[in-house]
Amino acid sequence: MIKTIKLAFLGLISMAFVGSAYADLTFVSWGGAYTASQQKAYVDTWSKGSGVTVENYNGGLGEIKAQVEANNVTWDVVDVLPDQAITGCDEGLFLKVDQSHFINDMVVKPVSECISPQIFWSYVAFYDPAAFPGKKPKTIKDFFDVKKFPGKRGIHTWANALIEMALVADGVKPSKVYDVMSSDGGIDRAFKKLDTIKDHVVFWSAGSKPLELVSSGEVVMSLAYNGRIGAAILQEGKSFNYIWDGQVLEQEYLVVVKGTKNEAEAREFVKHASTAESLALQAKYIPYGPMRSSSIDIIKKGEPFFNTGVDVLPHMPNTPKRLRRSVIADPFWWADNGAEVSERFGVWKGN
Amino acid sequence: MSEKDSFVKFENVDKSYDGESLVVKGLNLDIPQGEFLTMLGPSGSGKTTTLMMLAGFETPTSGEIYLGGEPISSIPPYKRGIGMVFQNYALFPHMTVNENLAFPLEVRKLEKSEVDEKVHKALSMVELQDFGTRMPLQLSGGQQQRVALARALVFQPRLVLMDEPLGALDKKLREQMQYEIKHIHENIGITVVYVTHDQSEALTMSNRIAVFNDGKIQQISTPDVLYEKPDNSFVAQFIGENNQIKGKVKSMNGKNCVVETDNGDEIVSLKININSVGETSLLSLRPERVWVNVNEKNYENNFEAKVEELIYLGDHVRTRVKVCGNDQFIVKIPNSSDHSDLKEGATVKLSWKAGDTRALDFKA
């Protein structure tokens, strides 16, 4: 008996050594359908080097900073948001990468020298058409108009995108939103607009929640991540309508963590994951918009492109028509003012 | 019966916990005022359940209990006014000795001065007047025992119940406390119902003892009668040391009978708990009522016996012999020069009287 235990123990130890000697590349992302699409588009098509282990996290730079500071980096490639990409690059948490192969093919300029392009996703309003038998809401202005369209609204518990949407609803042109936000009284104006729906909101913080809120009738319309709505329509057959007007587009990037033990391989991997083909392939599995213009061309030619045999472009946030009435979130503005606005937003929520 | 003779009265009381078996069966018991009654029996015999029914912590399944002529089954325990000493004293650990004693008095809303006086008096009674400010856990087991006793008496209950109160003490302290409790009882004349499984404790303290077994009172009587004249083989065996010889009733004649043992010896004995010739009986004979090498004429029963083992105990020699086919037969031989030649393996002549031999029931 004791002998068996000893053998098992030795086995475990040796496995640990083997594990560390030939470490897989660790790719960290957000989980769910999004990571599943990345798995299919990048990981399953990755033939070089050793395997790729996919892990999930909840965003933020906390863990990465802790790993870098402790000089014990176990995450090699991480999927991050733009403001994190900027801060992380500034603070030296990420490595600068070669951007020459995509720099001229980007819908918007890359925010940092550390990033490789991934997707656009957006905060967008949506509703169940059954909730509005008559006139249906069409613009973000309607979302903020509780007289014309009575009922509760679902919004998220943090400030990003809400400020922008409030200003667009208040009549600011999408392209001028950040000018207003940077000017005196701009933020006050946004909060004043938010005040008009304050008594009619239900807050959510998990991405699956707004769909439940709308399905159950807890709210008549809600903001949500566009990919979640798309998945509900395309895969679960729900009938939801988008209000693309006033949507706020966010970007998603891959970065290589500084101090990775697999630097060369990690660089190769992010390059592979940001080719036009890889980005297009991802759209087969989730209706987020690729950041490279040529990927959109590939999808357009390939329609019906989605894996269930339907068109995917109607669910993508970054078609040229939609971009005209969209705000592209400015990570620099948020890196500067995020903390201050978040605190203000906290005060606003609580009062 | 007068009220004084049945201060406490159990009338056809049954108790069952599970609806399938009875823990107490058809109990009838009268306790006169001022008596020290002990309920003695092995564990599971129903004695503690009986006590708990009297205290009010258990309700009889059927029958009624009377206290001072009043039925009390429907009176909750805190209105019965019965004092009780618990097995592990149940002193409140978060209160001082004084506070423990004052508790029943304060509940009864007595004046502060009266409370103090009574507490002091009760503590003096158990000779702990200097320990009032101690916490119970700072006292020795014996002291805690006395505090528990004082607390049960301080509010002058009509009746005090004691549930194996000395069980946790060592032997010497236990014996000392037995006398103390007995003296307190004699001094204040309160009615006491005492539960124990220790027969010597019961014999020392009680006016009367009720021997419990199997949910029933086997015999209730004074200590001497129980010892001298047990009614059945359980009581004979449970109280005091006892030689038992199994045999068949051969003949019956007036108050005597003859019992034949398995090896053919015939023993004359008192006919106590047998009904007919031919039934099996267990003879009971106290070891100190057997004599060695004496004049046979004075005794109805005379047998040869082989000495198997001698145990020297100072004042007497405890001798195990084989007689009438029974090799566990004990004889207590006084330590006198007459018997200095006693040796293991020797053959001696044993004699005993028919009047000391009781033919009792045999339960297989």
Partner: protein
């Protein structure tokens, strides 16, 4: 014995003084005892003492920025804080920004941004454009590159960084800040979030502690007094939530308590509330309290149970026997004896509750968020670990104060977990 008459130290049989011999024998024991606790000691040191020390030092540490702008701060101190700083300050700043290698400047700008929003992008933009400036004077050219260089507010915000230690994070944690003259002033009203959140955190924690006690006490009492076969079943019922994922439980509560949820539907069907007046039990403080009460209930029940298990049932019997009514007996006898369990459970629940953040994040919605949520936010999003450390240190200090008060009133030796 004759030896007793000899004066001087008592010797052992081999002639060594008894004391020396004893010390030697005990030393061996002491070393052995020390070696036995050594792993634990090291473990506590590594996992507890060092991180807490690190947190405390981070909450006041401001050295990093001083290594990037040492000269700027030197000349900055001479400035009279009127209008704009002199050319000398601009010049040193210009050179130190240019000289900063690698990530130094990024890290510094993040720090500067805590004091004044905007520093981050100002530095980042300027860094690139500074290449155009070939020679002084620098002041006008810098203002030309970005007009914010001409905004005194940015410059004055630097004032709180010139010392290697700062109280700025602690001030921030209680809605105060330094003004440009390094005087302590209140935050502008629309940013005063932390004091409000502190109060809410304590209020919610106290209420949760109270509710878990009210719900847990009878359960623990039943557990401790029921026969084993029933109490085992009940114990499983108490522990079952423990074994269920926190998220699953929280989501279940959302489904039950939201305005279109099971509970409100039943109330409407029963006619107890009107359809348009459905109760708001979720996505607010009420929701946070309800869900946290359920989640933390086992932490109250278990210590209570283990203490109650040791309370002999004969105490209650004795009290009843002595004439106390059941209520009086409970209040005067049972309750005081269960106090160690109440305080252990209360302290445990309170301390867990005050640092809680997952549940408030999910169900707190409008006003149910606690200080833990802000710590998590700054930890992950703004990377303002100094503020996190300050918030955490205050939390730690508050816990110690509670512990101290508790010790004064009830006594730590009265905590009992079983």
């Amino acid at each position: 014995m004759s030896s007793e008459t000899i004066s001087g130290p008592i010797l052992t049989s081999d002639g060594i003084p008894l004391k020396v011999s004893l010390r030697k024998a005990e030393k061996r024991n002491k070393i052995r005892a020390f070696l036995l606790v050594l792993p634990l000691l090291a473990f506590i040191l590594i996992t507890f003492i060092i991180p807490i020390g690190d947190m405390l030092s981070r909450s006041v540490d401001d050295r990093y920025i001083n290594t990037v702008f040492p000269k700027t701060f030197e000349v900055f101190k001479k400035w009279d804080k009127q209008d704009l700083p002199p050319e000398e300050v601009y010049e040193t700043m210009f050179f130190e920004i240019n000289a900063a290698k690698g990530y130094k400047i990024g890290k510094s700008s993040t720090r500067m941004n805590y004091s004044k929003s905007g520093w981050k992008s100002l530095i980042k933009k300027s860094q690139r454009k500074f290449k155009r400036i070939k020679e002084g004077p620098y002041k006008e050219q810098m203002i030309e590159i970005d007009k914010r260089w001409g905004d005194p507010l940015y410059w004055k915000a630097l004032g709180e960084m010139v010392d290697p230690t700062t109280m700025g994070y602690y001030l921030n944690a209680v809605d105060l800040k330094y003004d440009s003259n390094k005087e302590i002033i209140a935050q502008p009203e629309n940013r005063r979030i932390y004091n409000h959140t502190w109060i809410k955190t304590f209020k919610v924690s106290l209420l949760v502690t109270l509710f878990t006690l009210m719900l847990g006490y009878p359960i623990a009492y039943l557990l401790a007094t029921l026969p084993l076969k029933y109490s085992n079943l009940l114990m499983i019922c108490v522990l079952l939530p423990f074994w269920t994922s926190l998220l699953v439980r929280t989501v279940a509560w959302m489904i039950i308590l939201q305005q279109n949820g099971v509970f409100n539907n039943l109330m409407v069907i029963a006619g107890l509330i009107a359809d348009e007046n459905r109760w708001k039990l979720m996505y607010n403080e009420t929701g946070t309290i309800i869900v946290m009460t359920q989640i933390l209930l086992p932490f109250m029940v278990l210590p209570l149970y283990s203490v109650m298990k040791t309370i002999s049932p004969s105490y209650m019997k004795a009290a009843l026997n002595l004439g106390a009514s059941p209520l009086h007996a409970f209040w005067k006898v049972y309750m005081p004896n269960s106090l160690p369990g109440i305080s252990a459970g209360g302290l445990l629940v309170f301390i867990i509750a005050i640092g809680y953040f997952i549940t408030p994040e999910l169900v707190g919605g409008k006003d149910g968020q606690m200080i833990g949520n802000w710590i998590a936010y700054h930890l992950k999003t703004t990377l303002n670990w100094g503020l996190c450390a300050a918030l955490g240190s205050i939390l730690l200090a508050v816990m110690l104060v509670f512990y101290w008060v508790y010790n004064k009133i009830i006594g730590v030796e009265n905590i009992k977990l079983g």
